[in-house]
């Protein structure tokens, strides 16, 4: 009996990815978690345990901002779940219709905003919606609905929803593509078998296709969740680090940025910033765990 040879090539092939990932993801992540346990007293770093978290959740100056940002984050996420994903699924269902003409054109057109920079999206939409130069007020006037126009990005009650919808517009291509791919992978035989049993048209979508693409919808939901709770760019590009008006668009990302790097006269505090980053990490971790253990294990998979 020969002892199985140690498979060196596995190590060699794994090494680059593991090293790069460790250097730029794992190490900074753990260092951030560690940094959250320190504070700075007279230019020296001292260990304070969970004191930063007590400040974050116990001191009303901090906790109010934190809960406000978290609440806004959930709203941001709900808008995506309620608008982006259903529209993505609907568009994918329409685009996968075999008799639709120019499907490739629509697919590309809807996907293009996804690859644009946040800065461009933020700036373009700010101009579109601008009460002074924007085309939104003129368009509404042209169809006689000018009274519906408001300076949305400047109003506390609309600003966050407006930004969420801009983000939906940008990213609707992602669920579209994933669902589209899932729909294409459904074998014809299954659908034909359904047709023989009298299930056609919309019924075929609800009774055959939708159950088969549920795992993809699950993946999209979790991607949306992680993406939204890590969001920062669009808000920063459109509203600045102070996430106005009156913090109504402040999400955890902007709150963390402001705290970590400072803003205007507010000096940066890397330790409190890390504490917020750690809280964000915790929230996302909990969300992902709920999905992995609570939902994904219950999803039924079909093998064709």
């Amino acid at each position: 009996m020969q002892k199985p040879r140690f498979k060196w090539h596995i190590l060699v092939f794994l090494a680059p990815a593991v090293l790069v990932y460790t250097a730029i993801m794992i190490f900074p992540l753990f260092n951030t978690l560690r940094l959250a346990l320190f504070t700075e007293v007279e230019h020296t770093r001292v260990f304070v345990g969970l004191e930063n978290f007590r400040t974050l959740f116990g001191d009303p100056n901090w906790s109010e901002q934190f809960w406000n940002a978290l609440g806004n984050n959930f709203w941001f996420f709900f808008v995506h779940m309620l608008v982006q994903n259903p529209i993505g699924v609907a568009l994918a269902a329409i685009l996968s219709h075999p008799r639709l003409r120019f499907a490739a054109l629509y697919r590309s057109a809807i996907f293009v905003p996804t690859i644009l920079s946040f800065v461009i999206i933020g700036f373009a939409w700010k101009l579109i919606l601008s009460p002074i130069w924007g085309i939104a007020p003129d368009l509404l006037q042209a169809i006689g609905l000018k009274s519906l126009y408001a300076p949305w990005l400047g109003k506390e009650e609309y600003a966050l929803t407006t930004l969420a919808l801009i983000s939906v517009w940008q990213f609707v291509g992602i669920p579209l593509m994933l669902i589209y791919a899932a729909l294409l992978s459904i074998p014809e035989e299954v659908l034909e078998a359904g047709e023989v049993d009298g299930i056609t048209g919309a019924a075929a979508f609800w009774k055959i296709k939708l159950p088969l693409i549920l795992p993809s919808i699950g993946i999209i939901s979790i991607l949306t969740f992680v993406g939204n709770f890590n969001a920062f760019d669009l808000i920063y590009a459109a509203q600045g680090a102070l996430a106005g008006p009156d913090f109504s668009t402040d999400i955890l990302g902007t709150f963390m940025y402001r705290t970590f790097f400072g803003f205007q006269l507010q000096l940066g505090d890397p330790h409190m910033g890390s504490a917020i980053a750690t809280a964000m990490f915790g929230i996302i971790l909990i969300g992902v765990c709920i999905y992995l253990f609570g939902i994904q294990t219950r999803l039924r998979r079909y093998q064709f």
């Binding site: 109003k155 600045g240 106005g244 006269l265 507010q266």
Partner: protein, 417 residues
């Protein structure tokens, strides 16, 4: 083989020669004034390099909103430039205390500046000065002279005249009375609250009383400006809630708005953009005949990276910043940034001349939130942005805003407890 050695020696020799030729020092300047890039490249740097052969200067600005964050990261990483443009007060003080900015108290050029000018870049007991003051900015209102002539109104002296004027512009309807938005928030505080405020809290008197704890933000002088701002809302034009800072600048320079609540730093840009004649009036006093107070804010200075390998060259540059040559180039190339030095500087721009003439008529002060009071959490300056916006929009009453700010300040600032 031998040939090859000779070739190698020749190559080596030539690189060493090139090294010797490049022995001049290059100084890099960190700044947030990306608007001034051409000014530095075309005027300031050539003037300095002509007088100091052997020193090259590079001006590398970043975006104003990101400057503090970018600079702090660069300093911590050791990749910051030799010369650091200094924000006033705590941002720079923190850099000095962290050992990033060198103590420049003994610099020869420092003797050209008054104590008030240096106060923004000293530690609390004024024992060390760490930046050479460059310029201050003055707040006021810039107006469209053609529009005022057309409507037959005069520049206002007192609050009542001011509101009569904007009311008249509003009724006429051909101009937006005032170009200001609340989207970016800081204009409301900087060009609103801290522009008109000194007339209410009597400049330095009120500002220092707030620092010592003798006055509170709930006192009338600090609440009254919010009451005045609350009246601005209806004169700011449709959709001001989503109007950004560049929007406001464009509205004014395109001639669509009659008055622009301003800081003098706008002058250069406005001169280039506007094709009508502009005038300026100072923040209106409460009642005609009152002493006027203006915000003459120490805004910009320049210091030295303590870890700079080119300290000698950097000091040469900083001494030159204290010279009358620099003061004159800077003040004339950038009308609206007024020299803080004791040199007599002749200015050609009429609008800048108008602003600076107020120094003779009124008492000067600096922005109320900048010294000491924005050290803690919550940050008074940032809160003032939000409060000024809320006052203009009318979402909260002036008294409520005063009470909230006072609670925030008292939560960490001992003299106010």
């Amino acid at each position: 083989m031998k040939n090859r050695k000779i070739l190698a020696a020749a190559l080596l020799g030539s690189t060493m020669l090139a090294g010797a030729a490049a022995a001049e020092v290059t100084l890099t300047i960190e700044s947030w004034r990306n608007d001034d890039l051409t000014l530095w490249q075309d005027k300031i740097i050539p003037a300095f390099e002509a007088a100091n052969p052997g020193i090259k200067v590079k001006f590398t600005p970043s975006a104003p909103a990101e400057y503090n964050a970018v600079l702090n990261s660069k300093l911590d990483a050791g990749s910051a430039g030799d010369l650091i443009t200094c924000r006033p007060f705590d941002a720079s003080l923190a850099l000095y205390e962290a050992g990033h900015l060198a103590d420049l108290s003994d610099l020869e050029g420092m003797s050209n500046f008054s104590d008030v000018a240096k106060s923004a870049w000293q530690n609390d007991d004024a024992s060390a000065t760490f930046c050479v003051p460059m310029a201050s900015v003055i707040h006021g209102f810039i107006y469209n002279k053609d529009a005022f002539a057309e409507l037959g109104i005069e520049a206002a002296e007192a609050a009542a005249e001011f509101f009569a004027a904007v009311e008249k512009i509003n009724e006429d309807g051909s101009y937006i009375p005032m170009a200001m938005g609340t989207n970016d928030q800081w204009e409301a505080a900087t060009m609103g609250y801290n522009n008109i405020g000194p007339n209410y809290w009597k400049g330095e008197e009120g500002r220092l009383a707030l620092i010592t704890g003798d006055q509170k933000l709930t006192d009338e002088p600090w609440v009254a400006p919010y009451r005045t701002l609350a009246k601005w809302g209806e004169y700011l034009g449709d959709g001001y809630e989503a109007q950004t800072y560049p929007d406001s600048q464009n509205l004014f320079t395109l001639g669509r708005a009659a008055i622009y609540p301003a800081g003098s730093w706008e002058i250069t840009g406005f001169n280039a953009q506007a094709d009508f004649e502009m005038g300026a009036f100072k923040p209106p006093v409460q009642n005609a005949g009152d002493t006027c107070y203006i915000s003459d804010h120490t805004d910009i200075a320049i210091g030295m990276n303590a870890k700079s390998p080119n300290a000698e060259a950097a000091k040469t540059f900083l001494n030159w910043v204290g010279s009358s040559e620099f003061a004159s180039i800077y003040a004339n190339a950038l009308p609206g940034f007024f020299s803080l030095s004791n040199h007599e500087v002749a200015m050609e721009d009429p609008l800048a001349q108008e602003f600076v003439s107020w120094r003779g008529e009124c008492e000067s002060t600096i922005r109320s939130t900048y010294q000491i009071l924005s050290r803690g959490t919550p940050n008074l300056e940032n809160d003032t942005w939000g409060a000024s916006v809320a006052a203009i929009k009318g979402t909260k009453s002036p008294e409520q805003l005063g009470a909230e700010l006072q609670t925030g300040l008292a939560s960490w600032y001992a003299p106010q407890q």
